[in-house]
Symmetry: C2
Subunit: 122 residues, 2 copies
């Protein structure tokens, strides 16, 4: 399976969040964070289409792009890679470091505890 690049991942995130979008819409979103030229965004999305990371349909004179890979699957694969590359595969070490360094609400912590208890009863 293909590993999306940094820029590709940003675009995927927007498509996952906002649903099918035009290049213009994606580029506008991106420019809320950083400056990117329109044709730069266009080119990347064309490449992604070539790699089959995106599908697209013509709509009048422009294209509407849709993510062709699922958010969960993609996150899962990138997660695996990351755990291997950065934590030498020690996933639980990463979990503990994340819990220690990132704020979490009471509800989130409860949800995680519940999940762990489910895991322990299997």
């Amino acid at each position: 399976m293909l590993k999306p690049t940094e820029s590709e991942l940003e675009i995927l995130q927007l498509l996952w969040k906002n649903g099918p979008s035009s290049v213009r819409e994606i580029n506008d979103e991106l420019n809320k964070t950083k400056e990117v030229g329109y044709t730069t965004t266009l080119k990347i999305m064309q490449i992604m289409h070539g790699k089959e990371l995106l599908t697209r349909t013509e709509k009048g004179r422009y294209h509407i792009y849709t993510a062709a890979i699922s958010q969960e699957k993609t996150q899962g694969q990138l997660l695996d890679r990351f755990v291997d590359a950065t934590f030498g595969g020690e996933a639980m070490k990463m979990v503990m470091q994340t819990l220690g360094n990132h704020k979490a609400s009471k509800e989130e912590l409860e949800a995680i505890k519940k999940l762990i208890e489910n895991l322990e009863n299997n």
Copy 2:
């Protein structure tokens, strides 16, 4: 702070795990997983030295390299980046996905539960 590349991170992992090493030792380790030429490894380690990711001392005719950045700090920074890029900053979502997808021992799960309880009491 500097973001190590893929290859650089592999080398850092070995240095963190095995302690100060020669290029030869690192290259031998790397070749247990994949084929890499000796001078390739050498060059990367020289670059890392230039970036001050590694320190080195002469020992006879060769060099012994040591990681110049801490494992925890580096992992923490890469973790932050990764959570942002891949999970849109939702760290707890990542934690739950990790728990669901990776095997964990009873001891690890207990340790995590204990950690969460500590967090809840602060």
